[in-house]
Symmetry: C2
Subunit: 374 residues, 2 copies
């Protein structure tokens, strides 16, 4: 018998918190009055338990609950269901954290297959931050997106991804878009010598996504982006098992981060096998604090035996001017994602990209020099 | 060119609301500075537009945005992505409502295939409320769950569903559980003459769910429960297309209703083809108000040409004592779901179920008499 330890944050009074903790332990396990249960296995090994209730300040209480690992099996979707299924419907409650027992961790599969090290290795960046940009806006035809992709690649970018809005639209069908962008990036890499990766965005049902991955393989690509909150975590887990050679970037679309702590979500996605996690950097278009961003990066990079670290990808209104500050903040275990700020350069796109790339390289070299002087 | 009209609720000042409306229109469409775009198609037919910003009281503003239907295609997951993908990351913003243009509605498929009328017809309840209960707690072996299922069926219940926590657990594997419960319900229906339906809960990746549906078909069952927020809406849409004879009950697990208006979510699930929507009734374990519940029921039942109405299923701590009040509130276009309150009766489970069933029948008869006297 083993237990998942789950932490929730509740807004309410101390008396409420005690009662709610008991209610959550029931809700997320047997979901019926314990006094109506007489089965000793259910009462002893399935019914959730309150481990601790403690004030956290700011009107919040931290509630720690033990949930039976036996209820989860090896299914990432069922893990979400047991962690926060019904309790997600309470608007005063946040899923804050969880810890799996080792055997449940093992049952989930091997986690990320490429990870930060692999993402670095593929672009020959053994010890520096990685660079990334995004193809947009929506509405452009494949040829235009390919032109942008080529410009990014000519600028020496490491990864260039589809905007998460690019899907299977009539004005830019997936096969044509991916073929055009992949060809454009291949052309550019011949000129630059830098193995830029193009990262198509996956969308649709699992069936549709599989067909997209087939096309990606045919184009010789080895990286793809997926939104776990849209596709479903169990399907991400299935893709991870079926495609060990693909690096998966997880996009936060629909992640509803105010209800699930974003560092907690990062942990989940890493566990399901995502190789990189995109999130809104502080000081950009979203309200995440620097502290939240640091916790997301830590969740991506925390050492876990048998589980690869994955790339934190801060994004969301970033600019080349912020590169040094971001690298100071995140260090080099990061993939910097700058989209609109580069695209706004118009005809100077390749040059602006090259400046972005150069900034990252220089910063890493300066850092390495500083380290060697210590 | 056609547009999706989307309504968001924002907490903030009037000046903020105007600026945020423009930002949302960009975020949910081209996701880059419009001044950096010169493509006329993108600017004219893809870039989101602010339709209206109006105070709603209580510090809230209603923001209406027009989003291009061309960005969605026929994919329910992509619809979610465009409606609320990145904007779900703002904790002061709620997705409140949306309206699809007719051609996009049509592209999504035919919607619910069984619907409320079919759910009624299958159990011979042409003009009354339907009854439903749930098999729990988790941790019971198949034989024990089957015993409960048989008791519910002997009580004359219309539908008996798995608890949404029942998945593919070692102590109760899906094939054994479903076979045992289906057989138990078949035995009971021979005695009662009432065609009680057993409703297994689906879980896992789309592949796993397909295998579960194969087993369900082998057992002669025609109803299943799915959690769209866990499986992914595009996968629900796919199941709907592949299994026109199955009635799908949508479970709210992980629905994070505080961020997406639950009536709005009901609309989405109906559109994707769910035949019934389960939600926490007011006065139960969850904080939904009567007004919220009424709006959910309205979203399930609103007349829509070419789209079947679906069953509202209020649940979450309901009791037999509340049946008359619930029927007064919802009328007969409803499926009442009572679980723990019946299970708490122990050895009296069948009798208590029969009382529940009788209450619903009597109320409907009384209502019919009252109508005939008007």
């Amino acid at each position: 018998m083993s237990w998942i330890e789950v932490t929730y944050h509740l807004r309410g009074s101390p008396e409420d918190a005690q009662a709610r903790a008991r209610a959550i332990a029931v809700e997320q396990s047997i979901e019926m009055p314990p006094e109506a249960v007489d089965d000793p296995y259910v009462l002893g090994e399935i019914l959730g338990r309150v481990a601790a209730v403690a004030p956290k300040g700011g009107g919040l209480h931290a509630i720690r609950i033990l949930l039976s690992a036996a209820t989860v099996g090896d299914d990432a979707g069922q893990l979400l269901n047991m962690l926060f299924g019904n309790s997600s419907l309470h608007d005063d409650l946040t899923l804050a954290d969880f810890a799996l027992p080792p055997e449940l961790r093992a049952a989930f599969g091997d986690g990320p297959q490429i990870g930060l090290d692999g993402l670095r290795g593929r672009v020959g960046a053994s010890a520096r931050a990685l660079t990334c940009s995004a193809l947009k806006p929506q509405g452009l035809p494949p040829a235009e997106l390919a032109r942008l992709a080529e410009a990014f690649a000519l600028g020496g970018i490491d990864y260039v991804k589809d905007d998460h809005g690019l899907a299977r639209q009539a004005y830019s069908p997936f096969p044509q878009r991916v073929a055009a962008c992949a060809a454009a990036v291949r052309r550019a890499t011949v000129r630059t010598g830098h193995p830029t990766r193009y990262v198509p965005s996956l969308s649709g049902s699992l069936d549709v996504v599989r067909e997209q991955l087939r096309i990606i393989g045919e184009e010789g690509l080895d990286t793809a982006m997926v939104a776990p909150a849209v596709l479903g975590l169990a399907n991400v887990q299935q893709l991870r098992r079926d495609h060990p050679d693909i690096a998966f970037l997880a996009h936060p679309s629909l992640a509803g981060a105010a209800r699930i702590d974003p560092a907690c979500l990062t942990k989940l996605w890493r566990l399901a096998g995502a190789d990189a996690v995109i999130f809104p950097n502080h000081g950009g278009r979203f309200g995440y604090s620097g502290e939240t961003c640091r916790r997301i990066a830590e969740a991506a990079l925390a050492p876990e035996p048998g589980l690869a670290t994955i790339a934190p990808v801060p994004a969301g209104g970033m600019s080349v001017a912020r590169v040094p500050e971001m690298l100071d903040f995140y260090g080099r275990d990061v993939m910097l994602l700058i989209g609109g700020n580069l695209l706004a350069e118009g005809d100077r796109l390749s040059e602006a990209t090259a400046e972005f790339v150069a900034q990252v390289h220089q910063h890493s070299q300066a850092e390495a020099r500083a380290e060697s002087h210590v």
